[in-house]
């Protein structure tokens, strides 16, 4: 498989023009991470393979709806994989679009430190930051993102008020952002 110098975003533009080679290239570039996410969420290889295939077919069909100003190509693809996996876990019909396209939110300003941070992050960086979160925040985020539980279900499981779960999600993600920025810039995090 030869490497293609085009960016993910350029490949998606080419896919809009029905370029199968561009889809192959995008698949070759991101298949491992996309499949690993689906496998971690779904827990079996058959379902994970189905989600991987469906997600890329979704990319093929919906490439025209991709907006580079809203997310990177990889983030868009992984959000499709995540939504497909959530739908499978919750047994409901798949949504065609990832959420970011539904609410019409542009990406946050990438002129700040985050652009630099995100480019250099490794899995170990993110794992270490996750491990640094208070355990109840980390577990709440993992139960929601990787296991597909709703905040109401998590509230019942953990026997804590719904407001507590919502707070753990929001504050945990904010803290995770600070930790990741600190890990890349050397800035201390409270």
């Amino acid at each position: 498989m030869s490497s293609d110098p085009r960016s993910d975003e350029d490949l998606i533009v080419a896919i809009q023009q029905r370029d199968v080679r561009a889809l192959e290239q995008l698949y070759d570039r991101h298949r491992v991470l996309a499949y690993s996410l689906a496998l971690r969420m779904l827990g079996n290889s058959g379902d994970a393979e189905d989600v991987l295939q469906e997600a890329f077919i979704n990319v093929w069909r919906a490439a025209g709806s991709y907006r580079a100003e809203r997310s990177s190509g990889r983030s868009w693809l992984l959000s499709i994989v995540h939504h497909r996996s959530i739908d499978k876990l919750r047994g409901r019909q798949s949504r065609l679009q990832p959420a970011s396209l539904e609410e019409g939110i542009d990406a946050a300003d990438d002129t700040d430190v985050w652009r630099q941070v995100a480019q250099n992050l490794t899995g170990e960086d993110v794992r270490r930051a996750m491990d640094s979160l208070p355990v109840e925040q980390r577990e709440t985020i993992e139960l929601a993102y990787f296991r597909g539980y709703t905040h109401t279900q998590i509230s019942e499981m953990m026997a804590v008020p719904l407001g507590t779960v919502k707070g753990r999600m929001r504050i945990g993600l904010q803290k995770l952002k600070s930790l990741l920025e600190g890990s890349q810039t050397g800035l201390a995090v409270d």
């Binding site: 698949y27 491992v32 991470l33 991987l52 609410e103 992050l121 990787f146 945990g172």
Partner: protein, 263 residues
């Protein structure tokens, strides 16, 4: 929900996709008119975007790629911009080798027979590799399922990664809440040699390592090893290969697994 009465705590649940469909629809409507929540959603989503990086990386089978490309080419609007014969025919990964060997057929019959034999060997190897891949995938999925179930039950879970001596191994130490026992979920270790056992050690500061359990491992799938004690008060866990059947009084070999334990 107006901009004035917005519930900013919903932003985290929203970007994690943890809202019910009804809650989600209502929040999407709210976002249209609330710049504060829109900004926060955009901010938090960037963090969520990097969560997949924490996954153990596993290669999907080649057959998924083939199925995908076949499906795309069957789409009514799936006109490849560059339609070559290679685009239309999806070949298995060993095809290139077969094609080269096929050329040899025209040169000499003896060489052709040899080439076909090699091709068959490659095919058998390919099937065997695929079976191994499937087994590894299933083991990983079962491992993650066990860890997730422990997390759901409120247990404290500590990663105990493989060391340089066993880079493909990994483990999770699970301490259920209010329990006097713990357990280690192990995968990816080499099968235990006949005269050896794996031994689990708990460590704390300068104190002598405490032997917590010995076990054998078949080399297949995750194994759950119960510990007859809690891990609270211990700072690290390690696993070494020691003499069967009861292990050693202290570690005598380089750890194959080692990691810090959560308080």
């Amino acid at each position: 929900m107006s901009e004035q009465d917005h519930d900013t705590d919903l932003t985290g649940a929203y970007v994690l996709d943890a809202l019910s469909p009804e809650e989600r629809d209502a929040f999407v409507s709210h976002l249209q008119g609330c710049a504060t929540c829109r900004a926060e959603v955009a901010e938090l989503r960037r963090v969520v975007d990097v969560l997949p990086l924490t996954c153990d990386l596993i290669e999907p089978r080649d057959s998924v790629r083939n199925r995908l490309l076949n499906a795309v080419r069957d789409e009514p609007t799936g006109r490849p911009t560059v339609a070559t014969s290679r685009d239309r025919i999806v070949r298995p990964p060993w095809w290139t080798g077969v094609r080269v060997r096929t050329a040899v057929l025209g040169v000499a019959a003896a060489a052709a027979i040899a080439a076909l034999a090699v091709s068959n060997l490659n095919l058998r190897q390919n099937v065997q590799d695929e079976k191994k891949t499937v087994a590894a995938l299933q083991a990983t999925a079962r491992f993650q399922s066990e860890v997730s179930a422990a997390l759901v039950a409120g247990a404290s879970v500590s990663r105990v990664p493989g060391t340089a001596a066993a880079p493909t191994a990994s483990a999770a130490m699970v301490q259920p809440p209010h329990s006097a026992t713990a357990y280690l979920i192990v995968r990816g270790l080499r099968p235990t040699p006949a005269s050896k056992v794996y031994q689990i050690w708990l460590l704390r500061g300068n104190a002598a390592p405490r032997s917590a359990q010995v076990f054998r491992y078949s080399g297949i799938g995750p194994k759950i090893v119960p510990l007859p004690m809690a891990t609270s008060g211990w700072h690290e866990a390690a696993v070494t290969l020691e003499k069967a059947p009861r292990g050693a009084r202290g570690p005598t070999t380089t750890p194959v697994l080692a990691g810090n334990l959560r308080a």
